[in-house]
């Protein structure tokens, strides 16, 4: 069954992997790394949820609990969510989608992966040495003056990994600008490319600010230079401005790629052109731009001026509009489609449902008078998990199932795949919906113990988390199983459009035998799939 030219997986030596400059292999390297980081962060979450089964928090000590949520946050945000879709799926499919043989700077691409893992290991080293209890937000002056533990080591880990992000963003921007195949005009790009283009802009512009901020913490902590600690003449709230100037756009780094994946899935599995292509494409850019101007909504009760609060509130309401546009266009795409319920589509449906709820609860938090009550409670936790897990993790899983045949040349087992998607959806809602109620009741976040009247909701949430855990474990097992026992995948198992499906599964080392010439708009699905008339970009 092997294709003649050898495919990109044919070489097996360790050095062929560790020194590869093939974007596809680097994508797989990223996949392996983030699975490890995800597993560590998930174990931390599981321990926290078990601890919260009882009001007095019986499993771990308060300091351990604080280290657990710090570990969970740092690992999930910087070492799983941010690289998940961009660095794994983006690396793998961007060059193929635009008809290129690789990214613009293949060696930089490999360097990004090494930086990412040096950062990850540095952060893990801080954990092994005794951990950090500042929370992933590193608020000053706690992080600079009062916290014990290996704050600087942890920060350096994030700092180094940040350079990996910047280089990845840069690489993608240049690849998308300069390496498109003949005929692949801007408005023939799949929407996944548009969303990753927007993501890359944020990665390149926002991550340096994070680097500066983290460095400032290290400088104050190591040498007592007063930047944030008022006792040294600094301003603790300044830190929050600098941190959220990166970290709010980072939220969009964590959701825009998911939106891109969902645009691919919805069109493929309903066999329809996307409704309102330009609106979906430009809403990504609008989110990226406006997303830079809403950071102060994390600081409504921080002692920021109330007028600043109002400006950030109105901008936060505005940034909701482009997200709403996307939801409406995806729904409209289904109209008169031919919809199948393959696993990736189930994840896409799950994404739309959970992202809608996540987005709407964002309105509660943008409403400044209501945020005063909900800020720093479990309501916020539930809200951003609906976006981060309900949005990003579900779309990542959807995309991974969708491209799995392309990546590995094997099919995953469909029935159990659908089961896992449904289990994940149920488990997720049971975990996080009770947290909305808890937050409204007033349960503050980052509490190791809590008043007994909140226990019912915590128990429900922990029960949900164990179901969610099964939803994560199943794909891990059947993906591994499929590598050896899965059916051989054809070049285009989903009858999808898009250049990545024009080449073999798994693709040859250079993606295409001949660079394709693009003559059609994206998503040129035939109205009736039964006709099996798949439009093909013509080959030169």
């Amino acid at each position: 069954m092997k294709e003649t030219p050898p495919n990109y997986l044919d070489e097996h030596s360790v050095s062929s992997w560790l020194l590869t400059t093939d974007h596809k292999r680097i994508g797989i390297l990223y996949l392996l790394s983030i699975v490890v980081y995800f597993a560590i962060a998930a174990v931390a979450a599981a321990l926290m949820r078990i601890n919260l089964l009882t009001p007095q928090g019986d499993l771990v000590l308060p300091e351990t609990y604080n280290k657990l949520f710090t570990l969970h946050g740092v690992m999930m945000v910087w070492f799983f969510l941010i690289p998940s879709i961009p660095a794994v799926l983006g690396n793998f499919v961007i060059p193929m989608m635009i008809g290129a043989r690789d990214v613009a700077f293949p060696k930089l691409n490999l360097l990004s992966w090494y930086l990412f893992n040096i950062g990850g290991l540095c952060a893990l080293y801080a954990v092994i040495c005794g951990g950090v209890d500042t929370g992933w937000t590193f608020y000053t002056p706690y992080s600079t003056t009062y916290a014990n533990g290996h704050v600087v080591t942890m920060i350096m880990g994030v700092f180094i990994a940040g350079f990996g992000s910047i280089l990845t963003g840069l690489n993608f921007l240049i690849t998308i600008h300069k390496m498109r195949a003949p005929g692949m005009t801007w408005f023939r790009l799949p929407l996944f490319i548009w969303s990753l283009y927007s993501t890359s802009v944020i990665l390149v512009l926002a991550t340096p600010v994070l680097a500066i901020t983290l460095l400032a913490i290290a400088v104050e902590r190591l040498w007592g230079v007063g930047i944030f600690d008022p006792n040294l003449g600094g301003d603790p709230v300044l830190f929050q401005h600098m941190f959220w100037f990166y970290s709010h756009p980072a939220v969009y780094i964590m959701i825009l790629p998911g939106m891109g994946v969902v645009s691919e899935l919805i069109t493929c599995f309903s066999r329809k052109r996307i409704f309102g292509y330009h609106f979906v494409a430009f809403s990504s850019l609008a989110i990226a731009v406006v997303g830079f101007m809403v950071w102060g909504h994390h600081m409504f009760v921080s002692s920021q001026s109330i007028y600043a609060g109002m400006v950030f509130s109105v901008l936060s309401f505005i940034v909701a509009v482009p997200s709403a546009i996307k939801i409406f266009n995806w729904t409209a795409t289904l109209y008169k489609g031919s919809i199948s319920y393959d696993t990736p589509m189930l994840y896409a449906f799950g994404f739309i449902g959970l992202f809608t709820i996540g987005g709407l609860t964002g309105l509660f938090l943008a409403a400044i008078a209501v945020d005063v009550h909900l800020h720093d409670t479990y309501f916020v936790i539930a809200h951003f998990h609906y976006i981060m897990v309900g949005g990003m993790v579900l779309s990542f899983m959807g995309g991974l199932h969708y491209w799995w045949p392309k990546i590995t040349g094997r099919m995953y087992p469909e029935a159990i795949g659908r089961t896992a998607a449904i289990v994940t959806f149920i488990g997720f809602n049971l975990t996080f919906f009770p947290q909305f109620l808890l937050g409204y009741l007033g349960q503050p976040r980052r509490y190791h113990a809590y008043p007994p009247e909140f226990q019912v909701f915590h128990v429900l949430s922990t029960a949900g988390a164990s179901i969610l855990g099964i939803g994560y474990l199943l794909p891990l097992l059947y993906f591994l199983w499929s590598l050896k026992f899965g059916a051989r995948a054809p070049a285009n198992p989903w009858n999808a459009t898009g250049l990545e499906w024009e080449t073999a599964s798994p693709p040859p080392r250079d993606n295409f035998e001949e660079i394709p010439i693009v003559t059609e708009d994206p998503y040129s699905y035939p109205p009736e799939p039964e006709e099996e008339a798949k439009p093909e970009p013509q080959h030169a």
Binding site: N66, F279, V314, S338, I339, L363, A369, V370, Y440
Partner: protein, 315 residues
């Protein structure tokens, strides 16, 4: 085990906050319906293999649809913003005639002092129906004074005063939480707010006949040696403290600054930062030598003599 689905509604703001919360909930349910019902309907009606008409009718004006579902959410969003910003503005404006209570947050306890002199730890007693204004500061890291029953919270920041206002409307005992992560036993930095009938509150205030805050400040003014320079009989050329609070003070830099809590505090811990016009910087900094509670007591004293005129000044 006691179990609630809704938190108690114990302040004037809580009613407005809840009204907005439930309106947003209703709106969210409506929008969910508008998205999920068509989604499910399409997903069932147009499922693969089902014989239905899939012919798209002649070109619909797509831009009209797009503009519609861009403009309507935008208008709704702006309406919500106006409503909540207006409510927030009123929340943040201290009501006239509020009782003033000082709050100092430290790892991991709340210390509160009433103007009448009563001091409490992790408990706050207040009368029903009377506006309360908290002036808060942290001694170490950032904390947050959160009373869910009042739907109110505000960060308590080191090095600067923040304020939080509310009017309790229902007697009872309510949770007080620290809502900003502040270190190891953050979860134990909790307490209770007791809302009492006004006459009970007055009785409670008199317990142990405490020294009023301003009087304690005056005593500190002497024991810390402030009176040596700022006192009436002093030979040293130092600015007087009578009649200062709430007035504009001219500075050496030819600026004016309002003498509020922040100004008083800065003048004690960072005296060199704002030199009063016509004086030299002779004052040693009291940074690290005076607690936040004592600073607040001194401020209360200086505030209590805001109507007086310094000796030797024309009336």
């Amino acid at each position: 085990m006691n179990f609630h689905l809704l938190p108690p509604e114990a302040s004037a703001v809580a009613r407005e906050s809840d009204w907005m919360f439930w309106s947003l909930t209703a709106l969210s349910l409506l929008i969910c319906g508008l998205v999920f019902l068509p989604l499910c309907w399409f997903a069932i009606k147009y499922r693969r293999g089902r014989k239905v008409d899939r012919k798209l009718t002649a070109e619909v004006a797509m831009w009209k649809i797009e503009v519609t579902w861009t403009v309507i959410p935008f208008v709704i969003a702006m309406g919500l913003f106006t409503w909540s910003a207006d409510a927030f503005f009123r929340m943040e404006t201290p009501p006239p005639g509020a009782i003033e209570i000082n709050v100092v947050g430290k790892q991991w306890m709340w210390k509160l002092q009433h103007a009448e002199g009563a001091r409490e730890i992790n408990e706050l007693h207040i009368p029903r129906g009377v506006p309360v204004k908290l002036t808060m500061i942290s001694q170490d890291v950032i904390h947050d004074f959160f009373v869910p029953a009042f739907r109110m919270k505000q960060d308590v920041v080191p090095g600067r005063y923040t304020t939080e206002c509310f009017t309790p409307i229902k007697t009872g005992r309510y949770h007080l939480f620290c809502a900003q992560y502040c270190g190891t036993t953050h979860a134990a930095m909790i307490g209770w707010v007791y809302v009492m009938e006004p006459q009970d509150y007055r009785r409670w205030l008199q317990q142990g006949s405490p020294e009023p805050l301003a009087a304690r400040g005056e005593a500190l003014f002497h024991t810390l040696g402030c009176s040596g320079c700022h006192g009436a009989s002093s030979k040293i050329h130092a600015p007087p403290i009578e009649g200062v609070y709430g007035h504009l003070v001219p500075l050496e830099t030819k600026e004016f600054v309002m003498a509020d809590d922040k100004y008083i505090r800065d003048s004690i811990v960072l005296p060199a930062s704002q030199i009063v016009a016509g004086y030299q910087n002779l004052m040693p900094s009291f940074k690290g030598r005076i607690s936040e509670e004592d600073l607040m007591a001194l401020t209360a004293y200086i505030k209590s003599i805001a109507d007086q005129t310094p000796e030797g000044y024309p009336k």
